[in-house]
């Protein structure tokens, strides 16, 4: 350890070590999850009724039984299931998902181009959702049973019951088709614009998908933020802070809100699959060129390899999102690193 380490007090240094070991442990825990995911995917392919060859080449009327047998041998379909799983897995681990039926290209090179768009949309939606949900949740916790609180409750019910794709379609009809304010889909416009124009163009294309995704997330989270905030407001340490004579602002923002945020981080971690699932739907509705749209197109083309790669990577994105949130949890809540948490 260098110089700074000696300057840190004992407790903090220990805490940092604990954090590192916590992160390592969580990283190691991902491995069985991903292994199981691959087993699940493989089982799904195996369990699927119908011959995978027929699924891939079934619409070719010229294929003779001999040719099908050759193809079966070529794809290794004549070998027992565990052998095929291990072979498939060792290829997947090297990033080789086989070749795409529709694009006639290695699956990985197609998927690679789509990851950044999905990460961009999801991350922006995540940040925006937290920024919107927090003030609403805090407000309705501070003023329960006010008009604002009832409006919030109503919106939450609406968001919980709203099919995401329908909401997307309605925004397209209203804002893109009728009012013509915003583009209906895609990520960039037809015209070749550079610099500032390109930024504005991108922003315009981003608005509707981002708004839909954010609305669905916010309505999912507000309730939890509200109840978490209500819990902390009634906690002993908040009463102590008030009794000390601190200003109300300081009590709310420094004592109550900070602690109320801790369970919210867990919620974000747990909600990662929901967020990415929502992204898939929103990408499909708005033709956003990401993994979700790619998955949809792959499924429509019966492009099994491509679809599998998309699902596996979406799973990976979900797990890494949850992991990041867990680490954030450990950073803000020392109880977790000292092994008192889960």
């Amino acid at each position: 350890m260098g110089k700074p380490a000696t300057e840190l007090p004992e407790r903090v240094r220990k805490g940092k070590g604990m954090l590192r070991s916590y992160v390592t442990r969580r990283l190691l825990e991902i491995i069985p999850v991903l292994m199981l995911l691959t087993v699940l995917l493989f089982t799904l392919i195996e369990l699927a009724p119908g011959d995978p060859l027929l699924l891939m080449f079934g619409n070719n009327p010229n294929a003779t039984p001999e040719e099908m047998a050759t193809l079966s041998k070529y794809y290794g379909l004549d070998q027992p299931v565990p052998v095929r799983y291990v072979k498939w897995l060792s290829k997947v681990l090297r990033g080789d998902f086989g070749s795409s039926r529709a694009y006639h290209m290695p699956v990985m090179s197609i998927v690679k181009q789509k990851i950044p768009q999905t990460v961009l949309l999801t991350t922006l939606a995540l940040i925006l959702s937290i920024l919107v949900a927090l003030p609403i949740g805090v407000y309705s916790a501070l003023k329960p049973y006010s008009i604002g609180d009832y409006v919030q409750t109503f919106l939450v019910y609406l968001g919980r019951s709203m099919p995401g794709f329908w909401f997307g379609l309605m925004t397209i009809i209203i804002f893109a088709v009728k009012l013509r304010w915003l583009p209906a889909g895609g990520m960039t416009g037809m015209e070749d614009v550079r610099g500032w124009g390109a930024f504005v163009d991108g922003l315009k294309h981003l608005t509707l998908p981002l708004a839909v995704l954010t609305f669905l997330q916010v309505t999912g989270w507000v309730r939890y933020i509200r109840s978490s905030m209500l819990d902390t407001i009634n906690a002993d340490y908040v009463r102590t802070a008030r009794a000390k004579g601190l200003k109300e602002r300081t009590v709310i923002y420094k004592h109550a809100l900070r602690n109320a945020l801790i369970p919210v981080i867990t919620l974000v971690a747990l909600d990662m699959p929901g967020l990415l699932g929502g992204t898939v739907i929103v990408e499909t509705v708005f033709s956003w060129p990401g993994m979700g749209r790619l998955l949809y197109d792959a499924i429509m083309n019966k492009d099994v390899n491509l679809a599998m790669a998309c699902l596996l990577l979406l799973g990976l994105l979900t797990v890494s999102g949850s992991l990041l949130a867990d680490i954030a949890y450990a950073v803000v809540d020392p109880r977790v690193r000292y092994g008192q948490g889960k």
Partner: protein, 304 residues
């Protein structure tokens, strides 16, 4: 404590001597949103069953003189690209969507109860294996998984219900397992076991009745989820296949005309009404679910 003192401790309006279920139903009846949900649900179910009979149109009969008519007094929800009455089609689609919603929710709940209780009662190693598997299943985004499953299994009512069950049992399984694990430590269960009750008696007389409220509440919420998942899949063209109408696939067909038709104008009603019914049904189910949850919660004391 004397009997009279005990009676005073009871919340108002809840007399002693009633079973948990009876008390819960009493509380449910006082939950306003839940009653709104119940009425809404009853109305939608009634419309779905008898709605097509209310209008003099057939859902499968094209009328080429009335293509893309906006809603009016004859066609309440307008007509579609073949001049078919949308009201009748939405109502018939409701039959399928409600059926898939209820069947999907109850079969996934059944699977969840089965897996959850096996996990809770199995040896620790099996239990942790099952729970790990549950974690993995929960870590995968549901919609993409359902899409791939629907691709392999094919769409159709039975397949969609099957897929919803296969990929929707995790939440219930966790709840049931947690519930049984905590019940197992309860004194009265241990006494029952000590007195020589057979495992089946304990499961049948103690675990299941005490877990029932949790199961009922989570299954109710699941109906809303199942309807939304079915409609999402059908919208993507992977769920219920035409000509069988469902709220989802009615929306899928409307997609092609979203930017206007050859006759000019945007037939917004084709998108609006099927989706509105999904929304209203999910809303009703969520109201009922919240009401049930509050009613079963012994800590909740309703005012008035």
């Amino acid at each position: 404590m004397k009997q009279d003192d005990l009676a005073e401790l009871q919340p108002k309006g809840e007399r002693e001597g009633y079973s948990l279920w009876r008390l819960s139903m009493q509380r449910f009846r006082r939950h306003k949103l839940a009653l709104v949900g119940l009425v809404l649900m009853a109305a939608i179910t009634f419309l779905a069953i008898s709605g097509p009979g209310l209008r003099p149109f057939r859902s499968d009969k094209p009328d080429y003189k009335k293509l893309f008519k906006p809603p009016d007094w004859a066609h309440w929800f307008g007509t579609d690209e073949l001049g078919r009455d949308l009201f009748v089609r939405v109502m018939e689609g409701g039959r399928v969507s409600l059926l898939v919603g209820v069947a999907g929710a109850s079969s996934s709940a059944f699977l969840g109860v089965l897996i959850g209780s096996v996990s809770a009662l199995a040896p620790a190693k099996v239990d942790s294996l099952i729970m790990r598997f549950t974690d993995v299943m929960m870590a995968i985004p549901t919609i993409p998984l359902l899409m791939i499953a629907a691709l392999f299994f094919g769409g159709g009512i039975l397949n969609i219900v099957l897929i919803l069950a296969l990929f929707g049992w995790m939440g219930t399984a966790r709840l049931v397992r947690g519930n049984i694990l905590s019940l197992r430590e309860m004194d009265y269960i241990q006494v029952a076991q000590m007195m020589g009750a057979s495992p089946w008696r304990v499961i049948w007389h103690h675990f299941i009745p005490n877990t029932m409220s949790t199961i009922v509440v989570s299954t109710t919420f699941r109906v809303a989820g199942a309807i939304i998942y079915e409609s999402s899949l059908s919208y993507l063209g992977l769920g219920i296949q035409p000509p069988t109408p469902s709220w989802g696939n009615l929306l899928q067909r409307s997609m092609s005309y979203m930017f206007g038709t050859a006759f000019g104008g945007v037939p917004w009603w084709l998108v609006f009404f099927p989706g509105l019914f999904i929304l209203l049904t999910a809303l009703a189910v969520n109201f009922i679910g919240d009401g049930l949850r509050d009613a079963f919660d012994p800590k909740m004391v309703l005012r008035g």
